[in-house]
């Protein structure tokens, strides 16, 4: 059994909220609750981490990127814990693991031109030995992503469109050529018509450069377009995972089913049937209940057991895990 590229073992993250800058309060919020999954090293894959806001997906991204420390559990990259990487081989870690963030505007420091991001990257990762070489690399990478260097270089972030800014991030990725991209909602803030173009780049990075990607999103439409496998997150817990085709064509967990039926289909003939009852969706309690299944408050199949105990994540079918009492026999 080879060492996986990325492994999360029982990752939990608890935030303290409340007074005294959070150090004197006892109210906590468990953003991530015992999450475990792996990404293989033998072949490049795109794994979609799907969840709505509050699911903990961004927190997981930050922990993988070393921007946040888990409260408990381990994140292993190529078998070594991320904290070890950061302590001893920080530069090497970031040469292999890089993010793509959601908001195309705030990823740039508005006071500087956009080239600065690239120049800084080249300098810090020692990707070029001279300024000419650096320029050459930048121009090549830009062309590969479909951006025109003569139009964009030397400009400020606000002078580019959202789609261009987001694609510019891909230029940075192409320069570094990481082994793993952690993409946090990379297309949710650009026009729908531009999303496919961006996602195609992720696919080509996988196919041509062997780059794996953890694609974090709340949108199953785009997840189905790029992902090889899907992990569904709800309130900080994994509720289902498996290959993308199977999870979408045969969803097991009621939450996955809800997500799928709520997708707007671009066909007026396929409108949503019944109306969704919004009152069951929203809970005033921002701090979720400690016991029971994470979804029981919104689940049409919830039983008393669901309210009392949290269902374990079990392999209901080969290669497919689900955390739901409907599937425990």
């Amino acid at each position: 059994m080879s060492i996986p590229l990325l492994e999360l073992r029982n990752i939990t993250k608890v935030f303290r909220i409340g007074g005294g800058l959070g150090l004197f309060s006892t109210r906590t919020i468990k953003a991530v609750d015992s999450v475990s999954f792996t990404m293989p090293a033998d072949k490049p894959v795109i794994v979609a981490l799907v969840g709505e806001s509050g699911s903990g997906k961004t927190t997981i991204a930050r922990m993988i990127l070393g921007l946040l420390k888990p409260t408990s559990g381990d994140i292993l990259y190529r078998g070594r814990s991320v904290s070890q990487w950061l302590k001893e081989n920080r530069l090497e870690y970031y040469k292999e693991v890089q993010p793509i963030f959601q908001d195309p505007y705030s990823i740039y420091n508005p006071f500087y031109r956009i080239d600065r991001v690239l120049k800084m990257t080249i300098r810090k990762f020692k990707l070029a030995s001279s300024e000419q070489e650096a320029e050459k690399m930048i121009v090549e990478a830009m062309r590969e992503v479909g951006l025109r260097p003569e139009d964009l270089l030397g400009r400020y972030p606000h002078q580019l469109s959202g789609g261009e800014r987001q694609r510019f991030m891909l230029v940075r990725i192409l320069l570094i050529k990481p082994r793993l991209i952690v993409a946090d909602e990379p297309v949710s803030m650009i026009d729908v018509s531009l999303r496919a173009i961006f996602l195609d780049h992720l696919l080509s990075l996988r196919d041509k450069l062997g780059t794996s990607c953890l694609y974090i999103t709340h949108d199953l439409n785009t997840a189905s377009y790029v992902a090889d496998s899907i992990i569904v997150l709800c309130h900080g817990r994994v509720v289902e995972d498996g290959s993308a085709n199977e999870v979408i064509s045969d969803p097991l967990h009621p939450y996955t089913k809800l997500l799928l039926t709520s997708l707007p289909v671009p066909d007026p003939r396929q409108r949503w049937g019944e109306e969704i009852d919004l009152s069951t969706l929203e809970t005033f309690e921002k701090i979720k209940a400690e016991k029971g299944c994470v979804f029981h408050a919104r689940c049409p199949y919830a039983t008393d057991e669901c309210r009392e105990r949290a269902p374990p994540l079990i392999e209901a079918k080969p290669g497919r895990r689900v955390a739901c009492f409907l599937y425990t026999s």
Partner: protein, 300 residues
């Protein structure tokens, strides 16, 4: 084709800032007023040397006592035979020196503590923030009075003392801004590009703090001059540092108003107000300059 991959944004940001700044009447007015005031203060030795023929302005009995305003003495003379204009110019110079030194020290302390506190977060933030808030709650004036009354002061010490009570304002403003900036994705991007914390603070954060630093500095200058004036009105503070406040305090003590030496009281007061007005105009003008620009930049 040679592409401009040069990424030094600051120079161009400065020139485009100046271009936009010209549009803000407040900023321009305030700045011009400041230049005039500062000019007077800077050239005071020259002006006074020329007008008084090399004699010191504080020298008693240079001229006739109690002369009304005239061409030779635009603000008249006081009861000790000193030219009021000369006195006021000296006072302006010292006021500005103390204000800028104290304001500068306060701003620097505020910056260092404000940035470290919010950027490093955690316990350091709690401790530093509590100290900052603690000093804010302290009754500044009585403490200042106590210190100044009992300790022999020179310019530096006066500035330091005043600064110690003024830095919390800068620290709070800057801390708040850093807290908002440090969660921005571009900071996170800098971290994953392996920039060290110091590099991030200096290269990424500082640039976004400039308007707040300038604002802090203006407030600190105003605050320290006001505090100094307050102390002077009660008669405290070193006499070797004849600030406008000193002049005012001295004039009130000697009953200048009652005796009809209006200029002696009005001139320092008006100048003090002008300093505050100029600094405030620059401050609010900067706000006008930065905010509509931001709106134009982001608000599409």
């Amino acid at each position: 084709m040679k592409f401009k991959v040069e990424a030094s944004g600051l120079r161009d940001k400065l020139s485009s800032f100046l271009a936009t700044a010209k549009g803000s009447k407040r900023f321009v007015t305030g700045l011009m007023l400041l230049f005039v005031i500062a000019g007077l203060a800077v050239f005071e030795p020259v002006i006074n040397a020329v007008r008084l023929g090399g004699r010191k302005p504080v020298e008693i009995g240079l001229f006739e006592r109690g002369l009304p305003p005239s061409l030779e003495h635009p603000l008249g003379t006081d009861m000790l035979g000193r030219d009021v204009l000369a006195l006021v110019l000296v006072g302006l110079r010292y006021s500005l020196m103390v204000g800028m030194m104290a304001g500068g020290i306060a701003t620097i302390i505020g910056m260092v503590l404000g940035i470290s506190s919010s950027y490093l977060g955690g316990r350091i933030d709690v401790v530093l923030n509590s100290i900052t808030n603690g000093i804010l709650i302290l009754p500044t004036l009585p403490l200042l009075m106590a210190i100044v009354a009992y300790v022999r002061m020179d310019m530096l010490l006066v500035s330091l003392t005043l600064a110690v009570f003024t830095w919390p304002w800068s620290a709070r403003t800057i801390r708040a801004q850093v807290l908002s900036l440090k969660e921005r994705p571009y900071i996170m991007l800098a971290k994953v590009t392996n920039l060290s914390d110091l590099e991030i603070v200096f290269k990424e954060l500082l640039v976004g703090l400039i308007p707040y630093i300038v604002a802090s500095f203006s407030f600190s200058v105003i605050g320290t001059i006001m505090a100094e004036t307050a102390l002077r009105m009660i008669g405290l503070g070193p006499a070797e540092i004849p600030t406008l406040g000193f002049l005012l305090g001295w004039a009130m003590t000697y009953g200048a108003l009652a005796q009809g030496f209006y200029t002696l009281v009005l001139a320092p007061a008006v100048l003090l107000v002008l300093i505050f007005v100029a600094l405030n105009l620059v401050n609010t003008g900067l706000d006008e300059v930065f905010n509509p620009r931001l709106k134009k930049i982001t608000g599409l």
